[in-house]
């Protein structure tokens, strides 16, 4: 899962990015409206955290720009003002959720997770596929009830596949959703990563579709 944080305050931005990375997300950061808008339109993020009080193009303008361009990505809006007028305008402009500053990082993580779950069409925070369960709120995976130790990247890969079960996902799509913008992309890395994850969660869960990509099956066929 790859997120975009658009926030002008460097300290808040750093804390957000740190907390989100610690929670297993790939995070890109923009400090200014124009840059945020460009990144949001050019990179396939799974969710965006957008501060409304931005210098240059303000957050609302950025959000409206995205929605006019047909961007469906869930957006959580952050604001210092906290008036209902701002909430209403933000939500009417296409925001999916709203958080007033100062906020607790846990609250933010819970909201992001709910947004991701909803956009994937899942009602429960616990995703299941075959014998593997992924608790997105606790960020923990188990196989037959036994916890699986995963690196941040492995967790990210598993979570992305489990959010989109039964869909054939190309290597490039995985690259785009697992790595931050600064990462030097190489498709071999994905192959290595998928193989490493297969060893931990069981080989039957993830099928390779040659030339197309990978597919996670919900039913246990292995």
């Amino acid at each position: 899962m790859r997120l975009l944080v658009v926030e002008d305050d460097p300290q808040v931005s750093r804390q957000l990015a740190d907390a989100l990375r610690a929670a297993g997300y790939a995070v890109d950061v923009a400090a200014e409206g124009r840059e945020g808008r460009f990144l949001g339109e050019s990179e396939p993020y799974d969710a965006i955290v957008l501060d409304l009080g931005l210098p240059g193009v303000d957050g609302l303008g950025v959000l409206e720009g995205w929605r006019q361009a047909g961007l469906q990505v869930p957006v959580l809006v952050l604001t210092a003002r906290g008036t209902w007028r701002e909430k209403v305008t933000g939500l009417r402009a296409g925001a999916d959720d709203y958080l007033a500053k100062p906020f607790e990082v846990e609250e933010l993580l819970a909201r992001i997770e709910a947004l991701l779950r909803r956009s994937g069409g899942h009602a429960s925070p616990v995703l299941e596929a075959g014998r593997v369960r992924l608790d997105t709120s606790a960020r923990r995976a188990t196989r037959d009830g036994v916890p699986i130790e995963l690196t941040a990247l492995e967790y990210r890969l598993l979570a992305y596949l489990m959010h989109h079960p039964e869909r054939v996902i190309s290597k490039s799509e995985l690259t785009e959703h697992l790595y931050e913008q600064s990462f030097d992309r190489d498709s071999n890395v994905i192959e290595v990563l998928v193989n490493r994850l297969r060893k931990k969660v069981g080989p039957e869960l993830i099928t390779t579709r040659r030339g197309l990509g990978y597919q996670l099956s919900k039913d246990d066929r292995g």
Partner: protein, 451 residues
């Protein structure tokens, strides 16, 4: 803004001032005109009267002649029936050296009491006739050829004739001038009303603003009032600007403080347990203090005269927003009866009040929130109910106080209802809490409605 009343002592309306002073001038002018006209008329009548006496006198003089014995005689008697009718008031007589020689038939045996004067010449005198009636007489004393005597001619007519004409004239002029006065007064009243109409319109326009039906005065006033209207409009604009600036500053301050607070709050997680808890508690205290003062600074209240807000639009916006924010819980938010209700105040204020009430209801509701707005007797009531656990009646006052939350399990700073009360009281409104039919809390907001 009431009409000048007698209790204020002297008449205080411009209307009364203008009508009274104009009326006084009109009446004075008419009285003077009346006096002058009567005097002129009397003078005119007297001249005519004297002219007719003079004709008579000339005829007498022409007819008279001194005989060989030195006694005066008339060659013919002047013919005018008035002088022949006895006691008609029209008389003439001719004296020679003080003795009455010839007299008109109307005098019969009497004579006119004219003091004999030797002086040659003519004069007008007033005297009494045989019946004691006042007469106006022309007296001429002269000498005749072939005689050394002086002859005195007297021709007199009744003063009552003059008086009668003058009286009739006075009667006619009184009626005419009274009609003129009535016409002029009516014209004054019409003129003053017409002239002061812009002021009445100004008052009506101000009433429109107070009632919330307009936000500025119209520009169609005459040049004398236009500067005042412009000033008032500038003042109203200034109010709106001040409000916008206060809100801008509140927003800037919020931005300036809340980012550091966010950083402090989240950074303190790395501290040991005890200090971390203290820091986070203090951050909460600061946040709610900021929130409270900002919500006061933002509230327009009386600073926005003429504001008018459609309740239905605000409820719809809030319903949309809260359904989106509480999507996970699948709450049913029902809005009833809001159509047509209009709040006499600022839209952002109404959003803050009702938004906080609805948000609070959504936090506690099990499955449904019911909102309805109604207008009654100049008051707008917005009621927000939920089917949550509710609040026991003895806690009502406490939940409306600052910083008090009954339960820490729902998120929020605990200033929601108190902020609502603050803003409502800026409009002289209030908030009532009661038990809802749905089982939870029923909060009713009382606010001024716009007509």
């Amino acid at each position: 803004m009431t009409e000048g009343s007698p209790h204020r002592g002297r008449a205080t309306t411009l209307n009364a001032r203008l009508v009274l002073t104009s009326s006084a001038w009109v009446l004075l002018a008419l009285v003077v005109a009346d006096t002058v006209l009567v005097w002129l008329f009397r003078d005119h009548i007297e001249r005519r009267f004297d002219a007719s006496l003079d004709d008579q006198l000339r005829e007498l003089v022409a007819a008279s002649d001194a005989g060989a014995d030195g006694r005066v005689a008339l060659a013919w008697k002047p013919f005018d029936p008035r002088f022949n009718r006895p006691r008609s008031g029209w008389y003439w007589q001719l004296s020679q050296d003080g003795d009455v020689m010839i007299r008109s038939d109307s005098l019969w045996q009497d004579s006119l009491p004219v003091e004999g004067s030797a002086a040659i010449g003519r004069r007008t005198v007033h005297l009494r006739g045989p019946a004691g009636e006042p007469l106006r007489a022309l007296v001429q004393t002269l000498t005749l050829p072939r005689s050394r005597s002086t002859f005195t001619y007297v021709v007199a007519g009744p003063v009552s004739d003059i008086d009668r004409d003058v009286r009739r004239f006075i009667g006619q002029i009184a009626v005419t001038l009274t009609l003129l006065a009535a016409g002029l007064l009516a014209a004054v009243i019409v003129q003053v009303r017409f002239g002061l109409r812009p002021l009445r319109e100004l008052r009506a326009a101000l009433a429109e603003i107070r009632a919330g039906r307009a936000s500025r005065l119209p520009q169609r006033f005459p040049a004398e009032i236009a500067p005042m209207v412009d000033e008032l409009n500038a003042l109203l604009d200034h109010n709106v600007e001040m409000l916008a600036r206060a809100r801008m500053q509140a927003a800037d301050l919020a931005h300036a403080l809340k980012n550091p607070l966010t950083v402090i709050q989240n950074e303190s997680r790395d501290l040991p347990d005890a200090p971390s808890r203290v820091v986070r508690e203090q951050v909460k205290v600061m946040t709610s203090a900021i929130q409270r003062h900002l919500s006061r600074a933002r509230a327009a209240g009386a600073r926005a005269p003429g504001a008018r807000t459609s309740v239905a639009a605000v409820l719809e916006d809030l319903g949309f927003s809260l359904e989106r924010l509480y999507r996970e819980r699948g709450l049913s938010i029902r809005i009833e009866d809001a159509a047509g209700a209009v709040f006499r105040g600022d839209a952002e204020d109404l959003e803050e009040m009702v938004g906080n009430l609805m948000d609070n209801a959504c936090k506690w509701a099990r499955s449904q929130v019911l909102v309805h707005a109604r207008t009654r007797d100049g008051w707008l009531t917005v009621t927000v109910e939920d089917d949550g656990p509710g609040v026991p009646p003895h806690e009502y006052e406490r939940v409306l106080s600052r910083g008090v939350r009954l339960d820490e399990s729902a998120p929020g700073t605990g200033i929601g209802l108190a902020a609502v009360r603050d803003v409502a009281s800026a409009y002289r409104g209030r908030i009532d809490l009661a038990r809802s039919r749905l089982g939870g809390l029923c909060a009713t907001l009382w606010l001024p409605a716009a007509a």
